[in-house]
Each structure stands twice: as C-alpha cells, then as structure tokens.
C-alpha cells in the first residue's frame, strides 16, 4: 500500500532538517502506529504525505501502490486515496459542512472518472454516516469546524474519512484533546472502516488510543527516523517506561 523510502525533509524557509531517512512499509489492510516524543517528526511526516507547502524533500521517495505520491498535488493525492485526519482541523467560516463534504466527494469521484453523487444520494449517505458517529445533523449544517468543540472537530475528521472512503488513512494525533468517551467514539469510527483494502497510519503520543484501535505494527520515531519497530507490545512498553529507555537502547 504505502512505501516510504529513505525520506529526508527539511523546512523550506530555514535550514532545519526534520526527517532524516524515514523508511516505512504499510501493507494493505494493516494498521501501523507511529509513536515518539515531541519534535521527533511525526506530524511533519503526516503533512509531507498529504502535500502541505513549506517542506522541502531533499531525498527519498513515497509511493502509494507503486505510484509516486510526492509528485502529486494535494487534491491528486486525495483522489488517489490518501487521507490525512488533521491534528488541528481547520475552521472555514462561510462554507457549510455539507457543501464542503459533497464538493470534496464529487471532486474526488470526478478525478477518478466516476459519476458525481446527486444531492439526494449524498444526503442519505451523510445522514447514515453521521448517525454512526453520533454527529448531530445540526453540525452538518454549520460552517466547517466553526464553533465545534475539540471532540466535534475530530469526529468531523472521521466523518469525512467515512464519506470519502480513502484507502490510506493517516491519523495525526487524532486522540489529542479528547476525553475518554470521545476517544472511544472516534476509535469506533476508525474500526468500522477497517477493511482488507484499507490501511491506517496512526500517529500518537500515547498508548491510550491504541487500546481502542489495535495496531498490527508499532514504530517508534525519534529525531527524524524510525528507530524501532515491533508489535502492539511496543506501545505498552512506551506506556510503562516512557521513551527514554527505548531511545537509550537504540542510541
């Protein structure tokens, strides 16, 4: 599914190297978690995958099912099936949530040469998905993320994922700012989307989220590299002992 090879990234505006050779391979249907201390480059990796400006790729490659991702515009990546659930979802005053989602869905379908979804079909689809995520229909009418609580914003990200049905989902600290109940709701939403043809890259600080979203593989990232890879037990080790031990071990 996703192949990241020796990825080196620096900030465009200053001479600061952030990713220093990331190698990562995610198979179809698998859930990978990336954990790591603050400043290790986790969010940068998520942004670079989604095509955000401000980063310069100095070396390496990223492929989605063999297709070069780094050459694509953000909207092309989305149409190819890549999705980033933002750590801080953006507020867009004046654009209704429904309009936003329908525009996005139809833009992706158009880019893939598929027929657009009619207003009626879309309404049905969105109501059904919103219900499972316990999203109030009122929230769908409001402008994108404006006045949403932290939990609502994150649920809205998962709703978008459920509607757009990407094959490679990157979740950037989706658990941050969530209480236990909200986290469970978000995790249930993610689990409902788990499928043999869909992969997840779950970026998180804490093991907590991984109790709800069981990963197949756990990576530890530090100083711009993946320094250790293991099974779910690796997350527990972080929870119990912190990052210091692991970092000392690989140093």
């Amino acid at each position: 599914m996703l192949d990241i090879k020796n990825l080196h990234v620096k900030l465009e505006e200053e001479d600061k190297r952030i990713l220093k050779g990331v190698d990562l391979h995610v198979d179809a249907g698998k859930v990978h978690a990336i954990m790591g201390p603050n400043g290790s480059g986790k969010s940068t990796l998520a942004y670079v995958l989604s095509g955000r400006d401000g980063y310069e790729i100095t070396e390496g490659a990223v492929a989605l099912d063999g297709e070069d991702v780094l050459d694509m515009e953000p909207e092309e990546r989305a149409a190819a099936g890549l999705f980033l659930a933002f750590q801080y979802p953006i507020e867009i005053p004046g654009v209704g949530n429904m309009t936003f989602l329908r525009t996005a869905l139809n833009a992706q379908r158009k880019a893939r040469g598929e027929a657009e979804v009619s207003a009626g079909e879309f309404l049905k689809l969105i109501r059904e998905k919103a219900k499972t995520l316990q999203i109030d229909p009122e929230m769908l009418k409001r402008p994108v993320n404006v006045g949403f609580s932290g939990g609502e914003k994150k649920r809205n990200e998962i709703l978008q994922m459920a509607v757009l049905e990407p094959r490679m989902c990157v979740l950037d600290e989706t658990d941050s700012g969530l209480d236990v109940d909200a986290m469970k709701l978000v995790a249930d939403g993610v689990n409902a989307l788990r499928d043999a043809g869909r992969s997840f890259l779950v970026i998180t600080h804490y093991q907590r989220l991984l109790n709800h979203i069981q990963p197949d593989v756990v990576h530890i990232m530090a100083d711009g590299r993946i320094v250790k890879t293991g099974g779910p037990e690796l997350a527990l080790e972080v929870e119990n002992n912190g990052y210091a031990d692991i970092l000392a071990e690989v140093a």
């Binding site: 515009e73 936003f100 996005a104 869905l105 833009a107 992706q108 757009l164």
Partner: protein, 426 residues
Amino acid sequence: MALRKIDHEAVEARLSALDLPQGPSWAAAARRDALERVRAGGLPQRRDEYWRFTRPDSLIQPEPTPAQVLREEGSEIFSGIDRLRIVFRDGVFDPEASDDLAAEGVAIERVAQSGDIHWARDLYGKLEVRGQEPVSRPLAALNTAFATDGLLIRATGKVRRPVALVYLHEQEQSDAILHHVVKVEEGAELTLLETGPAAARFNTVTEVEVADRATFHHVRAQGRDHERRAVTHVFARLGGECVFKCFTLTANGMMTRNEAVIELAGDDAVAHVAGAAVGDGDFHHDDTVFVTHEGRNCESRQVFKKVLRNGATGVFQGKILVRQSAQKTDGYQISQSLLLDGDSQFLAKPELEIYADDVQCSHGSTSGAIDEDAMFYLRSRGVEQSDAQDLLTLAFLAEAIDEIDDRMIAEDLVTQLERWLSRRRR
C-alpha cells in the same frame, strides 16, 4: 462660486451631447432646477473629496466609451422567481418584452408616459436634492435633468410579486439615463429587483420614499459585461418603524460607482445597505454610502465585501451621520476585501460623525489574502485549487449576501455567482 473655465467647459461639453426631455410636464421644474445645479456646481473632479479614489472621467465625458456586448449563456438571473418583468434595452423601454404593468397592490407607470398631474412630482428630484447636502452628487443632478425614462412605482399594499427591471445591453455605444421613483405607502411591502449591464454607460437614480411601517427590499445584480460603466444613486427617505434593505451584487465592469444616500427620518426604522463585488483586471468598483440618522432608536447596517484580482480596484466610502435627535441609534459598518493577488487594491474610507450621546456605532475595515490553511484543508480533501478558491470566495461574500432576507433571491444570486466564477476560469 463661479466655476473655473476648464470645469465650465467640461460641463458644457457633456450637456451638449444631451437633449433635455420635453416631458412629463410635472417634472419640468425639477429638470430645470437640476440643470441649473449642474451648470452652477460642475461635474465631479478628481480633486473632490469623494472622488479621490475613483476617476470620474469616463462617467462625465460627452460620449461613452464603447463597451463590447457580452452574450450571457444560461438563464436570466431571478428567472426562477415569480416576478413582474420590465425590460429596458440600452435604456429604452421594450413593451413587447415586458409584462403588463398592471399588478395587484402596485401602480407602475413610465416617466415618459405619465399623466399631467402626478404624485411623483413631490419626489422626482426632491430626494436627490436633499441628498446633495453635505456632499454634492452632480451625476445624480445630471440624471434628474436628462433622464429619458424610468418607472414611477407606487405600492399601496403588500405586493406579492417582485417588480423586476431587466436591463439589456445590446449596442456598443449606448448611453442610458434612467430615473425611477418608488413610493411605498404606509404598511405596504415591495421588492424591487434590477439586473443586467444596461448600456455601455449607465446612469441611474432611484428615489425611494418608504412610509411608516412599510417595507422595501431592493436587490440588484449588475451584469458582467466587462467594459461597461455605471453610476447609480439610490436616495431613500424612511418613515417610522419601516424596513429598507438594499443589496447589490457586482461582477466585472470597468467602472461602477454605486452611491446610496439614506435618511432615517422616522423613529424605530431599519436600513441595511450591502454589496458583494467580484472584480478581475481593469475593474474599478466604488461603493459610496451616506446614512443619516434623524429619528430615534433606528438601526443601520452597511456590509460590503469585495473580491479583487489581477489589478482590480475596490473602493468603499461609508459614512454614518448621527444627528443630535437620533438617540439610541444602532449603527454598524463593515467593509472587507479579499485580495487574490498582490496587484489588486482596496481603498476604504469609513466615517462616523455623531452628535447624539446615547448611541452605539461601530465600524471596521479589513483587507486580506485567501486563508492558506483553509485552502490546503480543502485541497487535502480532493477539491481542486481553483474550485477551492471559488468556495472560499463565496464564503467570504456570504456575510454580505446574508443581508438579503428572501432566501430564494439570495440563492439565485449565489448560483449566478458560482457560474460567473467558474466561467472566469475557463
């Protein structure tokens, strides 16, 4: 004060290209008075306080600069709304294309064909004169003198169908001058719609008297012909407990000057003036608004938004004058521009002048670029860059469009705007 020679010559040159209309007889005095005022006061000059940001040249030169006629595809704006449609081609009334002017609750006549004794005598040129103080508006006086036609609309009840004026532009060098008078009687309700580019050069004055407890909605869509030029004036006098709302959508046009002069004479009245403009390249759009509060406990709102690109210029000059009698005034004014590139500019001059001590007045003006985070967010969900820009443009204009009460009319304008935006890209 006598005019300088050069200004005198400019006035005479402009007047020589015009014929003073013969009728109607009831308007003759107002026309003569207006002509005298133009002769004495001259035409707008760049040095005039309210013409510093907008060059009046193309609006005052004797002959209009030719403007290419744009053939609009698709349906006419407001075609989905049950309306009484009245058509002017380059400023000339077209009876064939227009609906029957007879309608329930409203009397509509043409200026050029009205009877000898007429109610409009008390309004024609009268509100315009009142609006000349403290800021002179010579192009409105010129209009009063030389308007070839226009409508006299008197609403006596709740008028169900909006009266829709459709201004078609078909000749490249047309110079149209129309003068409308609207009287909304006590407790009556009227919606006036105006659409279309009208002419190569269009000068229109609309005088509106809104009586006590009456409601007047005015929605305009100034068409897209790129080379057209227009100067419009709305003069309104409001009675007590009445509602006046005016909204204008402008797309393209090399020169548009929209002036609104609103006088809140009665108590507890509401006046909203709003505008949304989208301009590209040689686009110059100027909203000049003057709201005077006389009555107590009135509310006024000015909401203006402009999206500018490729060197387009937007101007906003908005004033709220609160006289000593106007206690408990609630005045609000906002003007904002979205600059899609570094070449475009927005010039704003908000003014408050307050003589009453128990009032609430606020104003704000901003200029900004498109929100890059929002842009990326949309693109990351698959929306193409140009579509994302349109979506954010519409979102920016939404606050002004929201000033329109009628949802059907507002949605029609948004649909039109979407079409205009997507066509611009092709």
